[in-house]
Subunit: 254 residues, 8 copies
């Protein structure tokens, strides 16, 4: 609880407009009562402007469905990432309004009412080095779109044929933020960041074999970029890139 | 060279207002002629909005001085990072207008004229977990300030006493971007990102010993943050965090 | 064999109340005769106050059943950890008194008689960061309970929403020992240890992907905790955390 | 701030015995006002029962002296670890009452008055495998003693001559907690934990060469101990072992 | 686009023999229009003398077939590597002229007309240490042959019986380039490079277990070769060795 | 070819008792003509006193059968290691005299005639820490026995109950060589080597989980043993331990 | 010794034109008699076309001088790499004809007579990403020149300003082989290899900090290059790149 | 204490020829009373046939001198390894009979009387790949000689010129055990083990740079040797190789 809120609460206690018990309960910030195994953080949109998103990997279809439903009922856009096709089918059977994005492996349950106008700064560009990087790139793009941001996609423009990405620089230079998704050596992030004025969010992917070590080569390459304006998220973390890009692409809190 | 520029150039050739030779030279984009060992990228501010910055580590004082001078003459703010005190003294003796930021290990040579108005969105908050993280945190802060951005500093607020950072959340929540600098387990980045709506740039530091492995523990912790809105730069890379934060904190190119 | 026991034995030899052969056999401390592939350490409760526990992974159902039975016959509580459901069903068919804890993957065969009064100091709190950490957290909780200790569970209170764990601090501060189970960056251990006076046993889990490297990120984070009072067990080792917590929660040997 | 304290504070506000401003200040838990680079966590003894300890590595002698003095003035025992001899001499010149433990590399500034009776459960045993492990073992022993706990030392009893540690088992079995300090393969922790009923805190050291990788071999060995009742702290972290052992060796908070 | 080409193009614009729009389109080097998910780099043979090759792993059979067909229609030899047998059968059913190399896991679709005379310097020798290395060695051999180069194969001549490879030195010494394929410790590359005058391309394989770490042991061994004239490609990368060896075995561009 | 053999051969050429062609063929040491994919090293027993052994992993049953048969026909004992049960059944169906050792995963085809008297020095002891280590321990034992050496087995005597192995020291001290097989922290090797006068061959196994990293913890522990007289083979390499132990246990070549 | 040589030697023995003793000595291929600690491989030029080069690191100045002199006396070009300035001065004082290349850290002692005409195919291009990579790049260039090959240098053309290297593509495309020297993420190798038809030898350097891990990031990036025609040498191994490039740039042995 | 000794002791107690107290003291196997920081294992020669050797690294000269003297007084050969020159001079000044082996970094204090006849089986061959490996190779050789074994040295015979080691195979084949010392890729161990009948002890050295990672490349290469009869000791552990080789080269205990 922030200091200004605390002071208002204390004033209310002094004024007698709120009881000590109720004030103590509000100060106690455990929020939503614990329900079964999950402890939903329904206060998150207020604090961060972004809803909690379900990490679907390792959860059962029935659990995913139940949490999607619970989040939906709070009026938020409800998403589940890293859902495999079998579970997705099971969830969609239970919740017919949920949409399945196959390549991105995302289940999306739109809010009933449009969210209050989000002040968006511009377009998010998502750039992928190879076609094998698409599941991760699509995860980033779908999440950003679900959060209400316009997305431009640039697929298969890796540095082995550098002219491919150079041919898009006019448009990339006007994006609000660029997400670069690449496996193998991940060199695309450096090349793009050296050409555009906006921030570049680099997503290493596990595409590759041998000494790519499941994405470590691309991760290290991106962390050591010789270009300025690159920051990095976890391997294959399209979701994380999207939450960062949308935070960047919103107007600042005043 | 972007397509629109190319088309204008070609039109000029067709119109005869520019010779073939000159047009070929412009298309050939090597820019500033190579001078000695360094090949300055003086075109960078046009492309990225940020000047080239000298990586001082491993360079001789006389080389640093010469490149600072060369950058300064192009009208840009000229910076050198990771300069040790002896070299700094030597450079300052040659170039009396250069300022030495000791803790940040930065030499700064301000442009003679104020840069054209940069449209800034808000304040950059720099948060450090411990006092040993200060050289890296100051590197981030000084670079951001040299690029014309207002910076708020929050020192020594690591999670071993979580109330310290919680006590600053009111102000952190209003920043345009937060840079979190932490060594050891680097947990501070997750805690902050779960509380604020703006992007968090996490900088792992090499502070620690044993299984911190020179900052790997903090790096991995930050890459695996359970909170959304975190992206990461290289270990001890305060400079990289600043270039990313200032890209975020500028108005978007239209 | 401890010195005092040895001296008593030697005295008995001198006194003629025990033969040289028998004394030699007692000094020879191989204990329980080797039976098939396993060499049960039935002397362990006397030395350490804790029974041997079967590591079920990689063992056949019939072997698990046989060793459970053998341990049970010595009067000890017999447990097998890391047993998958198929094997568990097979064992339970053979030994109907054995109980199967599905989420914790533990088979438990209670002693026929209550163990002699164990002097317990207080309550063991088990705290998990996310719902995916529950199999490991439950392994810790079930083992501690089987050893006769009271356990309080706190699920899904990771640092992305720090208020969740802060809301439980009153109770956590009164525990005798806290087991913190967390994957990804494992930051929860540091936050808890900075708030409570009792020892914290940190259990990194393999929950995560990419640069979590199967739990290494959480492991390193916990080993490098900036808070005092944290010690760490192997990745996913809920069992190890329980054996350590119960040693702590017993009265000291006089 | 815990719930019970909060409720009392709110009651006082309602009762008018405390002003809103003062209550807000107390709720705002940043504690000690920030003074220069350090932000002392003077509330730590209340929360955890242990004072903040200065990590001396990388700090200047004058900073160490100043923080020692500040901690001392709050009435706490003030310690600084990992202080090299030159800095220690400088600090002792400024603060004559500070004691320098050379092998442990610790500066200790005792509180003027004895701390209130701490309820201690028993003795802490510190066991080292080789003589090269002594600086780490002494760091553990000195910190525990400074916190008011009795310590027994067992030096140079590594497993290459297993009879050495076996000869001490009578006494080790009666300790309240055993700290095992070992480099190279770190096998001593497993051997001890298999023989004693109390918890074993294992401290891997960086003693060794080649494939010891600065203590990784010992660290991994201890994390993978086949014996129950072992938890591990960071490489060379004698301080961490002491803070954990003293938490274990105190009476539980009621 | 190279400078000489650019100058010719500009001259044509000045001469009016080409319109500004067409010239701009040619300068814009994005090449082949993007078609679905793949962005074929059909300009690659002009730049590098080698066609693009499809990395089959992770692609669907229908995609492989479609891209093979598209490459074939440009008149190039079309290859797909790392294709598993099921997909291969599916592709061959659609494209009967495609040939399946089972051990090498390669699909090859020969160009309709022989490629213009490639000036070849000599023979490429492919040497394998063990029979388990054959899939990688055959991948190298088949690709080189598909690119029009003569290949000699030497199988199962690892250093455990050094006379085997020594017996072939007469012929190996006359090769234009030698590809050495080896797993485990990869020592064969050093032995061969110390005996022949031509370049050695070393391919570590993932053959081995335990501390071979999926080929890391062989990779490091080859990178640290005490012999001159060794350069290394990724683990199991027979394809990469072939593209390098064929570049070496061509006459130089004048 | 050794110098003395070479001189004899040259003398025969000079004497005319052997033709130049035949001498050249003998000097050319490629040995057994290459037959299909395998290049048998039938000269190995002459050089090293040990037959080539087939590494069964990754080979097809028909290939294993064919090479076993070929080795058998040269009069040698023929073994194949790391053969899974399905392949073993297939081979045994083709070659009824081949014996299948299930736990050790070895196929053995005894020589028709007893090998010439091998001069054996004593007994090889194989010691395993846990029951999960048995497949590796049996691989070592079966290979040593197939090579004609007497083997004593000591199973499940890990250091968590140190008395178990101490109880066997009388017999272990008389072995010619001890093979210690252990996973997890691998401490058993150090304890044994500190007690016996003969060489200890340590075999780390991949038994364990989490930070055992597939046997790395045990491997590093054994390489860093604080006891003298320990040398180490690859993880899970029971075969390698046996070839080393049998070389040690033979009389020296005069 | 090759078969054809062996046959000639045997014929000479049969013909009586050479004694058995002398023939035996020639077959015995230990070459140059062992002299002190070094065993010069003076036969290397005959086998590989390249002289042995002294690895100066860790050798004393007097040893370097002595071996340089010994190599020189065999008529070969004699080089010593990785020589630090102090040792270089000492060697040059002893051997005034030796030349010291400071940046490349190489001592060169030219042969008295020009080597027999080496058939060179073209030019070797050496490209460096940054100025800090120059010591390694110069090591490559100087060795290649000392071996008699023409070298073109392209310094400071890293991908942060991609136009710099694109501006040189005309010339790079005509090289016989390109050596790319880069630290940090090493992306330059991929960009160049996608543009030129000749082989690219990639040299990762240890330039960088933090997660560059002393050159591992660049090494992995280069091994995982998405472009064809790249092979890699050890970190900082300019010497190795030169020996490989000069093998490539020679005419093939007929 | 072994069972047979224990039985004799018990018999003496029963017979009254020894008091209970004395017997208890003998059973208590802590041996030599603890003296200062070191706890000498003077019983080691009885158990293992080898004296304790001082690991000099990190010890002060005066401590080394004192322990050498103490070991000498027990009648054993006393050695200290890894002693740097300054400390060595200091020790030799105190103990004039101590001999300093500079290259091996060993101090040796011979026993006053020849040790009882040790039954030696043959010669130990020590083979080094390069001259930089000599300190480690000499450490192995000097220790073996100090333990009374004959040693043959073969220096600088690495696989880059394979004929060098092949030229020594006649003599190597007759050794009792071969110690192979090599850095970089460590291939020499495999080549030798494939040619000789005796055990090969492989010692990886930290000689190399870049991806040798301080000896890891050689260590992994040796652990993954494709040849039988290789076991490995720690990086740079010449001492460990000697203790293993001398155990092998002794007659077996009967």
């Amino acid at each position: 609880m922030h200091t200004t809120e605390a002071r208002a609460l204390l004033q209310a206690v002094q004024d007698g407009t709120i009881s000590v018990e109720e004030a103590a309960a509000r100060l106690s910030t455990t929020g939503h009562p614990q329900d079964g195994i999950a402890h939903l953080d329904t206060d998150r949109p207020r604090r961060t402007g972004q809803p909690e998103v379900i990490f679907g990997q390792g959860k059962r279809a029935e659990d995913i469905a139940q949490i999607l439903q619970a989040l939906h009922e709070t009026g938020q856009t409800a998403l589940a990432t890293r859902v495999d096709p079998d579970k997705a089918a099971e969830v969609c059977a239970k919740l017919p309004d949920v949409v399945w994005h196959e390549q991105a492996r995302i289940l999306a349950y739109a809010a009933d009412e449009p969210s209050p106008d989000v002040a968006i700064r511009g377009t998010i560009a998502v750039v992928s080095a190879g076609t094998s990087d698409l599941p991760v790139a699509e995860e980033a793009a779908i999440v950003a779109e679900a959060f209400g941001h316009p997305v431009d996609r640039y697929w298969d423009v890796g540095v082995a044929g550098i002219h491919r990405v150079l041919g898009h620089m006019d448009k990339l230079s006007k994006a609000s933020v660029v997400i670069v998704v690449a496996g193998m050596e991940g060199a695309l992030a450096s090349v793009v960041a050296g050409m555009v004025p906006c921030p570049v969010i680099a997503v290493p992917t596990s595409v590759g074999y041998g000494a790519s070590f499941g994405g470590i080569a691309a991760l290290l390459g991106m962390l050591n970029s010789c270009a300025a304006g690159v920051s990095v998220v976890n391997i294959d973390n399209g979701f994380g890139a999207a939450t960062q890009a949308t935070r960047i692409n919103r107007k600042r809190v005043e």
